[in-house]
Symmetry: C2
Subunit: 468 residues, 2 copies
């Protein structure tokens, strides 16, 4: 999940605070009947084992796959072989070029008054300390707003420390609000003359695995060393701050930009019977942060979407072509999604949907369908109800990778997953196969299979919409 | 918790498998009445905040404190100040000398066929690889027994990999059985000519934080590089093994022995009114493994015992002197416990008890009291019952640090804590303040306060016993 998605979710959550009661109104979905073939596919997919096999495979045989590195290239090779073995058609890599940042050494210690090592990780696009490290006093800020309020120049030669503690929410919107410390904090600290910045990881856990993630510096601002302390280490540092003595940290962070490299999207299809009806675009992202093995972010998304599409490789062709895209380099700026839109933006797309929020159960469906296809939305909600999925009242439109297509007017389906656990592991070393709950993963596959059965086969015209 | 304790617990658990039904017999405890002063102290201690404050303090202001290092020395200085501030008498450091092993670099990666980094940590007393690392093929063993069965010389130049997966048990006994892979595996691998050994961490978690811990090599056996993979990394490596291709690992492990250094015990007392009645010896250990901040192992133990003893600093003197010892260098071989026994073995001790199994609730009490004081054991069990503590049928005698005193015939009390969660964090980076549940911690303090109220004030003679 990227910060763009998070910011959109945060805005949506704000908008939702007023009309809560409206959510209790019955919807037309309740009265829609579920076609027998849709129900049959849905219930078969609840026993799915393909998605788990994909996640098990890529985490074991490839592991971490940072965008633009040889590991991501190995992941593309692995993916082509896997998708071909699953029976997909037109399997191919669509390469593109992108700038690449890579991690170096990263250590930290409290020099005084309470000497001990701290665990942290550099943020994407972080600047570097000298190889021998940087030692400076910290200046404490409870929130990024407090950092923003610091007088210009007041941080000169100091290390800013922002301790804001994220809490989990069902819809993931808190990532957008708390995440500002990561998204914007380093740029703010740099403009105020800070030598470096450390933030409390944007995560809802209490562990020692720091949460990686991208930050960006404005044009003309020189990147400063920027890192996320593990939540436990940040809390320890906050307790030291509370004792009232000056605190000196030593940081060694040696990441670097390695210039333009090749990345790419992996594309696979289930050809449809009616080319004029448009493509249904689904997928997740193939790249991962480099600390974990990318199970929930986003091995799950590529696995769920491919496993669902696979059900349409046998039996009658779906009306619409189902195109599964395993996007490259989402984590570091959404390069794959933009490359897809550039290459395929002129093709007719009926709908788009993305899975990039882990593997916990889908709890809500939202759509942004044209009036001509409102009935398909009702049928979808009715077919998903037995999976414990409620229909939301907002317009769909989530997804960093399919975002450019949605913004261009392609109809959108959001199958929202529970966010209660996701940010315990997101971007940490702990994002490994062990975090996948097979039962919840299968519920996801069933939801996506149901969505494809309804939308890819909808007899209605599905044309352009006004984006969310 | 040390391996000695674990092995004893494992043996005890084996012995328990037959007479399970016997545990359902009523005991005399059920009919003993609880003195009002004991109940009052117990219930006051349920609201204790001193223990949490001690753990918060030592994890924040000292952090990791590996035996024999300057960090452990800082911990002793901190402890003396803390115990004096709490009002204890005769607070002092009792130094001794010990050999010290320290960690170096530690990295690992799968070179082929599935290149990726693995997380691991060197075991205490591990040998070192060359600085540039050691690259070799692994030989897989599901258990230490399989390793033991490998033909002599069959491991020459190879890295042994033992994947045995520990499961948690209420009484902690599984540490003894599964822990053999760590306690004995490296020595076995070394005698069979292995270049190195990696084991699955002895832990019940599914995370990326490896579990440190001691191993020992027999006299004449040259230590080989020996490390514990995190449970998640070991499981990943096992999945690679299951694919059937040869697997090459690169290990960099550069720990070293730094010779004899100073360690020490910190001693504090609540003087009793009757010196002839003997000392009640309680405590935990001050040193910790170096990856975490030593909250559950054993910040909890020093905190629980001191917080309980503190209740006897006000009001009438207890009959017996309560001596709280925060032992040094338990983790690396129980040097503090032996030093105490050498220094104090000839003093009269009435009873001994140790807290070294985390901070989760006490679920069982066992005693080894002389016949003259059986009634005190009954009163103790009755007074603990309202805390949800059952009386066990075995003889008490747990504790690496108080073990030498118990073996010499000092009466023993065991207040057993729940082992369901302990080995998720034991010896890992995750052993931090966040793992302490304040409510369960206070239940511990209440149990220990109750024990002191009954035993330190028992009018009965408490003489020597036959050790467990």
């Amino acid at each position: 999940m990227s910060r763009t998605t998070a910011l959109i979710a945060a805005l949506a959550a704000t908008a939702l605070t007023t009309p809560v009661l409206a959510q209790n109104r019955p919807t037309s979905a309740a009265s829609a009947s579920v076609a027998a073939d849709v129900a049959k596919l849905r219930d078969a997919a609840l026993k799915d084992e393909v998605a788990y096999d994909i996640i098990e495979g890529i985490t074991t045989e490839v592991g971490p796959r940072l965008a633009g590195t040889e590991a991501e290239a190995r992941a593309r090779t692995w993916s082509v072989a896997k998708l071909k073995a699953l029976g997909f058609k037109n399997v191919r890599i669509e390469p593109y070029q992108m700038p690449v940042w890579v991690r170096g050494e990263e250590t930290a210690e409290v020099v005084s008054p309470f000497p001990q090592k701290l665990r942290l990780t550099a943020l994407g696009n972080s600047g570097a300390t000298p190889p021998e490290g940087l030692t400076a006093e910290i200046v404490y800020f409870p929130s990024v707003q407090d950092l923003q309020a610091a007088p210009e120049g007041s941080l000169k030669g100091k290390i800013a420390f922002v301790s804001n503690a994220m809490v989990a929410t069902q819809d993931g919107s808190s990532y957008g609000t708390f995440g500002l410390a990561r998204f914007a904090g380093p740029n703010i600290a740099a403009t105020k003359g800070a030598a470096a910045i450390v933030i409390r990881s944007i995560g809802s856990d209490h562990g020692r695995g720091p949460h990686a993630g991208l930050t960006n510096f404005a044009a003309g601002v020189t990147p400063i060393p920027s890192a996320a302390l593990s939540t436990a280490d940040a809390d320890n540092l906050s307790r030291m701050v509370a004792r009232g003595k000056p605190i000196t940290l030593k940081l060694v962070l040696t990441p670097r930009q390695i210039g333009t490299q090749e990345s790419g999207n992996v594309v696979a299809e289930v050809p449809g019977s009616d080319p004029a009806a448009g493509v249904v675009l689904i997928g997740g992202h193939l790249d991962s942060w480099d600390l974990g093995t990318g199970a929930i972010d986003d091995g799950a998304g590529i696995a769920i979407t491919a496993a669902a599409a696979k059900y349409f490789l046998t039996g009658p062709k779906p009306r619409r072509t189902i195109r599964v895209v395993w996007f490259g380099s989402e984590e570091v700026g959404g390069f794959g999604g933009r490359a897809y839109a550039e290459a395929h933006g002129k093709e007719r797309h009926a709908a788009a949907a993305e899975s990039d929020f882990g593997a916990d159960r889908v709890w809500r469906v939202e759509t942004n369908l044209p009036d001509s296809a409102k009935a398909a939305g009702d049928r979808l909600a009715a077919a998903l109800a037995p999976l414990g999925i409620v229909r939301g009242k907002e317009l769909a439109g989530d997804g960093a990778d399919v975002g450019p297509m949605m913004k261009a007017g392609v109809a959108a389906i959001d199958l929202n997953q529970s966010g209660q656990r996701y940010f315990d592991y997101h971007h940490t070393p702990e994002d490994t196969l062990d975090r996948i709950d097979p039962a919840q993963l299968s519920q996801n596959v069933a939801a996506w299979t149901t969505m494809l059965a309804v939308i890819a086969n909808a007899p209605e015209e599905i044309g352009a919409v006004t984006p969310k």
